[in-house]
């Protein structure tokens, strides 16, 4: 066992991730040398993950309020009002590093963690998303990571019983050494049955629930090196293993328990489980907490206080219960065969006391643990804006048909069916739009309402221009929600960046947050929760800056939605939005012209809002038969996706615009949508759009078996489908 009275050396302090000045702060705060357990507690509370010490200053600038916001950042998940006394509870979180080490378990426990964040608040999870970034397809580790991560997400979510309805997958060499696994969960609760982590009342039982504590994840640092451990092998840091079966029981038990009125406060145990959960409950409630670790259910013998306080064992919760309901609460947990143990009490002394074998191993001021965490204003550099790429400097493809086939079969644009078919996207019976469209839609159980969910970011845009890229990510989510007919309500963000101690990387983070904030402001799309993952670097090379944005939208009548599939021959195809032929940072530029340069397409936020609001009105009036926004790959790829989804062709003429044809067809202009409308509606829809000042042009009609751009290309939709569907299974060695 690790002894608590071990000498605190500078090496140990560094090992636990505390900088010398941070350690000095600890000494100043408590006026003595900390015990090992105390040092562990500080290292957990003050690390980047818990304290947001590098990003907090900038996160504060994000818009977090709005008429629908019930609870913004700071709790386990954000909460927005969805009417009829119901709220949506959602959040996204990264599990990047664990997934790189052990892709199946890393991804699985990532899903488990985010589900817990949502049901801790009293909500029943109803949808999950996942945003994944992997290295180059030909990098030796990539295939293994893809296989493991996807299986892990499915393995956990499917068993738990939440439909995984969407996500993103990108490949880029800059993720060779650091894959990204961002998991999102959405739950629904009654507004008057939401639970928070703030404890209230002195002398109340603090109860531990769920799975037993092991050494999982303890000592991610080199803590277990020989000089501390008599038995190095025993103390080896271990990978967390997820148990969706226990999590599912924990969900049901929590829901039953919450219904009994026994719960005063509840907090799931995520990173640095017992430490963060206990401190948070106490500090938020202006209370002290006393924990007796001897009462904590353990799965291994001889665990030290240090190990128990830092264990990241999964599927555990901490609650403060009303004493008179304790027996009823215990009965619920026994029914579900879960551990239930009173491990402490709330106190009135604002201290965090931890006892082990009758000895006090930690005694710290509870509020200061959080409040006094260091906050940095790290130096950051203003990044240079890339020069705008003139479209006419990029060659036209030799063969448009070939170029289209090549694009839709490219790793970043091909069908993700191989991925989502491993996810149960139907469980719960409320899935209205499945993966494959702009946003997924689930019906709110027992109502006519729907919630749409989507996650987006285009890292190559953010890399080229972090501010525009941050804006674009928010705009794209907003647009994808709009494209299915939903009113975008709010977002959660997951900011994945490199080492913030480098001014360039910090500059990316700052600029991206500014862009995100600007877009949220104009689109009235507040941030209600989020997560920051920094230090995604290997051998000095950082990932592409990847601020993933997930958003939710509301459909008052879930039947009034639009999908991307072309449904009826003879429908007229319209383009709404201004097409400029923007090729900078486009997939065409990278895949066909072999270049990655220029600035990303700028987002005109006012136009974005105007176009989207107009289109949503039309969808809700039932006047649109299909809708798809233009994103990666441009207009032609968007139309091909609509044709493939509907298994029918389309015939258009070249769009009008000032740029060369290939730029109009493959440019990635923002704020644009392709619409299909019944022929007899076409004139009226055009008039309605014009009336709302939305640029609109008629492109052609739906029908036939080929995708045709007159005078330019004609490709059978079947050929498109084969190309689109083949890359992933072939890459995974299945065909």
């Amino acid at each position: 066992m690790l002894k608590n009275e071990i000498a605190i050396t500078p090496e140990l302090v560094a090992d636990l991730g505390l900088k010398p000045d941070e350690y000095q702060r600890v000494l100043d705060l408590i006026g003595r040398e900390p015990s090992l357990t105390e040092l562990g507690i500080f290292s957990a509370m003050w690390n980047e993950h818990c304290s947001y010490k590098s990003s907090r200053k900038w996160l504060r600038t994000l818009p977090t309020t709005g008429p629908r916001v019930v609870c913004g950042p700071g709790e386990n998940a954000g909460i927005v009002d969805i009417g009829d006394g119901q709220v949506a509870v959602f959040k996204m979180e990264s599990h990047n590093h664990p997934s790189y080490i052990e892709p199946y378990q890393g991804a699985a426990t990532g899903v488990g963690g985010i589900l817990r964040d949502v049901f801790t608040m009293g909500a029943r999870p109803v949808a999950a998303l996942n945003a994944l970034r992997f290295g180059a397809p030909d990098h030796p580790r990539t295939r293994h990571l893809v296989a493991g991560v996807v299986a892990g997400i499915g393995g956990y979510g499917n068993s738990f019983g939440v439909p995984t309805v969407g996500g993103e997958v990108n490949f880029h060499p800059r993720y060779n050494g650091n894959c990204l696994v961002n998991a999102f969960a959405l739950g629904i609760a009654d507004a008057d049955k939401v639970f928070y982590s703030k404890a209230e009342g002195v002398g109340l039982p603090v109860v531990y629930l769920g799975a037993k504590t092991g050494r999982d994840g303890v000592g991610g640092s080199t803590m277990a090196s020989a000089e501390f451990a008599d038995d190095a092998d025993e103390k080896r840091p271990t990978v967390q293993v997820g148990d969706p079966f226990t999590e599912k029981r924990l969900l049901e038990a929590c829901q039953e328990l919450m219904a009994t009125g026994a719960v005063v406060a509840i907090q799931d145990m995520g990173a640095a489980g017992l430490t963060c959960s206990a401190v948070e409950m106490g500090a938020k409630g202006d209370l002290g907490v006393r924990l007796d670790l001897d009462a904590v259910p353990t799965r291994e013998t001889g665990m030290s206080a240090y190990e128990m306080m830092l264990s990241e064992s999964q599927e555990r919760m901490l609650m403060v219960l009303r004493p008179e309901k304790r027996a009823a609460a215990e009965a619920v947990f026994k029914k579900w065969d879960l551990d239930f143990a009173e491990v402490g009490q709330t106190t009135n002394d604002l201290r965090f006391h931890v006892l082990r074998h009758g000895e006090e191993v930690a005694n710290l001021p509870i509020k200061e643990l959080g409040d006094e965490a260091p906050e940095y204003d790290r130096p950051w550099s203003e990044l240079q804006k890339p020069a705008v790429l003139a479209a006419d400097t990029v060659a036209e493809p030799a063969d448009y048909g070939q170029a289209l086939l090549q694009l839709i079969a490219a790793p970043d644009l091909c069908s993700r069916r191989w991925v989502w078919e491993q996810y149960d996207y139907l469980v719960q019976g409320n899935t209205v739009q499945r993966p494959g469209g702009d946003a997924a839609i689930i019906r709110v159980d027992g109502t006519n309402k729907g919630l749409a969910v989507a996650v987006d970011v285009t890292p190559r845009y953010v890399e080229a221009d972090p501010r525009e890229g941050g804006k674009q990510a928010v705009a794209e989510v907003w647009r994808n929600l709009t494209a299915v007919g939903a009113e975008p309500l709010a977002i959660t963000d997951n900011l994945n960046f490199g080492n913030p101690e480098k001014p360039d990387v910090m500059g990316q983070l700052v600029a991206a947050i500014k862009g995100i904030g600007a877009a949220c402001e104009v689109l009235a799309f507040p941030v209600v929760s989020g997560n920051v993952s920094l230090y995604n670097e290997t051998s000095g090379e950082a990932i592409l800056p990847t601020p993933a944005i997930a958003g939710i939208g509301l459909l008052p009548d879930v039947a009034q939605n639009a999908g991307i599939a072309l449904e009826d021959d003879g429908d007229v195809i319209l383009l709404a939005g201004a097409l400029t032929g923007w090729l900078g940072q486009s997939i065409y530029l990278r895949e066909i012209a072999g270049r990655e340069d220029g600035g990303p397409p700028p987002v005109d936020l006012a136009a974005e809002k105007r176009n989207g609001d107009a289109i949503r009105k039309l969808i809700r009036a039932g006047r649109i038969t299909a809708c798809h926004d233009i994103s990666d790959g441009g207009l032609l790829v968007a139309l091909a996706e609509m044709a493939m989804a509907g298994e029918r062709g389309a015939n258009i003429h070249a769009p009008e615009g000032a740029a060369p044809l290939h730029a109009l067809l493959f440019g990635e202009d923002q704020g644009c949508y392709l619409l299909a409308v019944a022929a007899e509606e076409a004139e009226a829809v055009i008039a309605a759009l014009q009336n709302d000042d939305v640029p609109v042009q008629r492109l052609g009609t739906v029908g036939g078996a080929d995708l045709v751009v007159e005078g330019t290309l004609a490709v059978p939709v079947k050929t498109l489908r084969t190309a689109h569907e083949s890359w992933f299974p072939a890459y995974m060695g299945e065909i």
Binding site: A211, T238, V239, T246, E300
Partner: protein
């Protein structure tokens, strides 16, 4: 020739599967069952006995065992 590879979870790694089996045995009335851990065996036939042990170890490292959480042992059967 035949070999058997035995893959087990490392001691400190959680074994949800073993736990569920433990619970089920107790529910079925089997008393005194302590810890249950599940692992797997992989029986392999090799056409060429040369370097069998080395090759089998390589197979374990590369594919058959997830050495982040599992230990393995190679046994020659015949």
């Amino acid at each position: 020739m035949k070999a058997r590879i035995i893959v087990t979870l490392k001691q400190s790694v959680l074994d949800p599967q073993g736990q569920a089996i433990e619970g089920a045995l107790a529910a079925l009335g089997f008393d005194g069952v302590g810890s249950v851990r599940q692992g797997k065996i992989i029986d392999i036939e090799l056409s060429d006995p040369a370097d069998a042990e080395t090759r089998l170890n390589a197979m374990c490292e590369k594919l058959l065992a997830n050495t982040v959480i599992e230990d393995y042992r190679v046994e020659m059967v015949e």
